[in-house]
Symmetry: C2
Subunit: 371 residues, 2 copies
């Protein structure tokens, strides 16, 4: 029988034992019946079982549970349900790692591009990549496009919409995409540097698919998507579709899964492993020291999972955002290495000499770092 | 300018103030820039502002923030982003209530049926409703249909698939739906009682829409959906479509949003208010005292929000599940009242005299409770 392993970190509450809690998880996430009601043949066929455990502290263990692959039925949604459906309502259970290679082939296919192909395509082989965000919400498409031109003229590699710029009347999707594509093309004529523009296609799943195609038709270079708003499965769908634009994933609405240390998904698992499996070419995450609360260790774990050679999927660019500015970007380049996209938003807007000047400083830092 | 209020419970960390934290939320969730960079006209147009605050304890406040309705742009996904996108990655922020009546009309339309219409349609006017789950995963469609027949013959009102039974080869969606519809029809011929059958249509959003139509075409009476697996917006889409089957929502994969007391969504807000707005005719939630961890107060808050007259949406049936069995169902009927669907799963399967006998006992408890 085909099986695959899931690594959980399990905290055991007073009054129960590790064995009881693990058995509870195995039953809850498969037959959803007391074990005494499950016949032996069915137990063998569908109930997962623990295969390894290691004590981490007084009340905390790493436990590897082996799952029958047939329980997935070929669907990303049922895979997520099996992994963390009902047990999301129980405390003290965190998913940390999955044995991806043992999953049914085709269930997950990973990024359509990946780091190597994108670096070759855009000449980024020897250096990290710069990224910024068009904002704020409330500006017109023309105003956003003007900012887009300034960033492009300043040499930024990737200009993405802010994730909160959706399809409001301020700057509707189609008009905004058209104007911003024109802006990066105009900047290319003026300066010789062609920035990439990634519009935000987040919306209901059916609209994501439509906007992904529209973005390609309008000449955009990639797309931004918040998979936790649109549904995780739709990210995989577009990454595997015949429209070929790289996908940048944004963590909006995902935080409840990752910020509680004893439940949900570890940041490395969610933003590194799972998003990579689901086809994100770029994974934006809140960098340590910024407005949000990940630790340096959690950030390295995301980078490691996104770029690990152990996985057979193409590699995902980690995109740390927050807490990075012109004065310290050198430190972050040293720390995270050249296979990284650095996202600087607010601090470029704050620069007293304007965003084109700030963008130029940012681009130069990245180019000189590995020359 | 059209605005609507959102009620947050905010815990303030040492070293910061309530005003700073609230201002941070308002900027983060709109312009995503420091306030000093936002011109006054734009601030007025797009940045939300606090309109009321009430201290609840040393470090905790209820704060009402007023939002510009134009920031939503007519999309459920951007509404969720505005409500809790980036701030999901910050601790100490919980959404508790929304002023639904002030939202743009048509954005949310609520349940297509609602409690009153379902009670009239099925003759449930004077009593609560019984529901059970077909399981376990791993059985064939024929085996599940046989159990479905037994429950139906025992008089259960609604028989739903277990939420983990998706489209696995054990019992594929279409075959299972066809067999179970036949089973409830056969039981109706044999006993005079026509149970309702709700297959699980959870899957990728595009498959949800297809299976919803298929379920109707195959003669099912409603559907089960896990909106947190398939995407919240698709629940609203099917509830507003021309196919007319009631929708029962299941909380799988939602727990990280609700089980941490100082962040996410209060259970009353998520399973009561938001699911009702999104079109759930039935809202399953983990009852207090069961395998999961909600308090009696949280359960009453869900019931209250689902059935409140303050909202203009049709009412949602609360469906407490877990911790309810034949011996105590009378207590829960007293506590939750007749406009409730009681979900009993495992304890019917455990009955020594078999599931038809157990189902009959369950049905009789409900019928006698308000006769």
């Amino acid at each position: 029988m085909d099986t695959f392993d899931v690594h959980y970190r399990i905290t055991v509450e007073p009054g129960t034992t590790l064995d009881e809690k693990v058995r509870g998880i195995c039953l809850e996430q498969s037959v959803e019946l007391p074990g005494s009601l499950v016949e032996e043949a069915l137990e063998q066929r569908v109930v997962p079982r623990p295969v390894h455990s290691q004590q981490l502290s007084d009340d905390c263990w790493r436990v590897i549970i082996s799952w029958p692959a047939d329980n997935i039925g070929g669907e990303v949604t049922q895979f997520l349900n099996l992994l963390y459906g009902n047990i999301s309502m129980k405390p003290g259970i965190r998913v940390e790692h999955i044995q991806w290679a043992k999953l049914p082939s085709g269930l997950f296919q990973g990024p359509a591009f990946g780091i190597r192909r994108l670096k070759e395509q855009y000449g980024w082989e020897k250096r990290p990549v710069s990224c910024t965000a068009l904002k704020p919400m409330g500006m017109s498409a023309a105003e956003l496009a003007e900012r887009c031109y300034e960033f492009a003229a300043g040499g930024v590699d990737i200009i993405k919409d802010d994730h909160g710029i959706a399809n409001q009347r301020y700057a509707p999707f189609e008009e905004r995409t058209r104007e911003c594509v024109k802006a990066v093309e105009r900047a290319a004529r003026d300066t010789g540097h062609r920035a990439l523009y990634f519009p935000n296609i987040t919306g209901e799943a059916v609209d994501v698919v439509t906007r992904y195609k529209q973005a390609a038709a309008l000449g955009a270079d990639g797309v931004l998507l918040c998979p936790h708003l649109s549904g995780l499965a739709v990210m995989h769908r577009i990454a595997q579709s015949s429209t070929k634009l790289p996908v940048m994933a944004h963590p909006a609405f995902s935080g409840s899964l990752t910020i509680q240390p004893d439940q949900g998904f570890s940041p490395g698992f969610l933003y590194g492993e799972l998003w990579r499996a689901l086809g994100a070419d770029f994974a934006i995450y809140p960098n340590t020291g910024g407005r949000f609360s990940f630790t340096p260790g959690e950030c390295s774990a995301i980078n490691k999972a996104a770029r690990s050679d152990e996985s057979s999927f193409r590699k995902t660019f980690p995109v740390p955002g927050g807490g990075i500015h012109l004065e310290n970007v050198g430190h972050w380049i040293e720390t995270y290495g050249p296979d990284t996209v650095f996202l600087i938003g607010g601090s470029l807007y704050e620069h007293p000499k304007g965003i084109r000047y700030a963008a130029r400083g940012f681009s130069e830092e990245l180019k000189k770092s590995h020359s």
